[in-house]
Symmetry: C2
Subunit: 316 residues, 2 copies
């Protein structure tokens, strides 16, 4: 095989109460990468489509490029030469794990192209390296769900301990991306370094409730637990009409609604595709009422992670 095209899913990190520890993947949107083997060693970005020229083309500054480079170095295959074509299919700086999806797609693709020398779970550190370039720190809450699919808990960073949680089949996600931009570094900068013990206890209760709600499954418990008393109150001020869009989601039957990652995208979870569609329309309307256009995406929780679109997948 000398060429492969891989899709990796967008992700919702934090998921209301689980700052830095929860994330899940969605079926739509996502990023697409095509790798083509070439004789000359080295990783080269030949084209990026859909980024309006904003992403770095230099391999060592590009999330997918650096992830692939780090991977090849680890498996002692710096003799490998690949050309990368990246198709960005979601907005940058959106809070939907755009950089993570590119990074995961890249690492997954090169591993498949080489006949899968490493099991999927072992790819995480290389995808995280790509994430480090994009956000300044190697977070796993977008990369892990994009790579593994489903809902994940990052129980610990040192050592890295990622747990996959089963989710109910009829849980649908609405993602709404208002056409404004929030820089991940800024979104992190405005957070306070200290949390009251009282709010820590409330947040822990919701973290426990959400995991129990997902695993049982118990939709009412999921709904009651989708509450963030620590991060959302601070970051919501970066998103115009946040409260109105959230209220519109809840009024239209969403189980819960909060910021996706560091924003400005917002996510809502609902019990059916129909409710999730209605929730999306209502949220878009809330943004539009102050002149902000937006994109809405509705899909199930993605359980698969990356998938090969063109080229041969290594049998698992």
């Amino acid at each position: 095989m000398d060429s492969i095209t891989v899709f990796a899913p967008a992700t919702v990190a934090n998921v209301a109460c689980g700052f830095d520890i929860f994330g899940f993947a969605v079926d739509n949107p996502g990023d697409q990468i095509t790798l083509t083997a070439r004789d000359e060693p080295g990783v080269r970005i030949t084209d990026i489509i859909g980024d309006e020229g904003r992403l770095p083309r230099e391999t060592s500054r590009n999330t997918a490029g650096i992830a692939i480079q780090t991977y090849l170095k680890h498996i002692n295959r710096t003799d490998v030469g690949v050309d990368i074509v990246l198709h960005k299919q979601m907005p940058l700086g959106s809070g939907m794990g755009s950089s993570a999806a590119s990074s995961v797609a890249g690492v997954y693709a090169i591993n498949e192209l080489l006949g899968r020398p490493l099991p999927i779970m072992k790819l995480l550190p290389f995808a995280m390296e790509g994430e480090r370039i994009a956000s300044g720190s190697a977070h796993a809450d977008n990369v892990a769900p994009s790579l593994l699919g489903g809902f994940v808990v990052i129980r610990s960073y040192q050592p890295l301990d990622v747990i996959r949680i089963e989710t109910p089949a009829s849980l649908f996600c609405t993602l709404v991306h208002p056409d404004i931009e929030v820089n991940t570094k800024d979104a992190r900068f405005i957070l306070k370094n200290e949390v009251s013990l009282k709010n820590t206890i409330i947040q822990m209760g919701n973290v426990a409730g959400l995991i129990a709600g997902l695993m049982t499954p118990d939709y009412d418990l999921i709904s009651r637990s989708l509450v963030d008393v620590i991060i959302e109150p601070v970051r919501a001020i970066l998103i115009p009409e946040f409260n109105e869009a959230k209220q519109a989601a809840l009024d239209n039957g969403a189980l819960g609604c909060s910021i996706s990652g560091s924003g400005p995208s917002m996510f809502a979870l609902s019990r059916s595709a129909e409710i999730a569609e209605r929730v999306g329309a209502a949220m878009q309307q809330a943004f539009l009422s102050v002149g902000i256009t937006s994109e809405a995406y509705v899909s199930q929780i993605n359980r698969q992670g990356p998938k090969v679109l063109v080229g041969e997948q290594v049998p698992s």
Copy 2:
């Protein structure tokens, strides 16, 4: 029926990472209460056995007394007259939910004696009233598991939201009570009101991991998640030889070990009765090495809550 004797189980609150939100009941020890109906209205404490005269005999200052009084007032049965004999079968101020067990035993007993006018779940607020007298605040993390049995999450206090989590059948608890005393109010007073965001994230990861570990079940995950970076480092200084006793538990195969409630008792969880017994002996030895005697209790997680020992249980 004019007399009933009820046992209510001791409990481990906090359970390492879950300060104020986690608690579980054990089969042993526990408290025992006997209620005897009498013609004259009013709640009267006729005897308390096993407290060395330290608990208040005045009904409105006794946890079981106040819980029963609050309950009777709520169901408009202040015409009822009962004599209470309380058999304390565990040390006071031990961190094993001594006051909660008395309170729960009392409320459960009066509700059964009257033919169960309220379902068990509805008894929680009255038992919490008893707890308020003992500890200064109406916490539920001892009362709820003592009343409901099993492992519970207090997801929220306002409104009260208690969730029961299934636990693996072969999970055994070791409770070791060193013969020293820690006042619950002191143990709370030394806690800081602020937590670093970093430690909040670590703790949330462990909270999520412990719930997932219990529900899966996954003993390794339970073990990795039984970590408390917020409360234990502060409260451990109140317990001489805490670090040595904890290390002895882990060295002897415990999945995890931490402070039970606000201490000074310590709990450990293990995968078998045999390991739990060995862990208990090793912890007692650690305390004894500095001249501190202790009691050790080994039992499964209690799944039943209170039980009627003498008298007729209302069919459920």
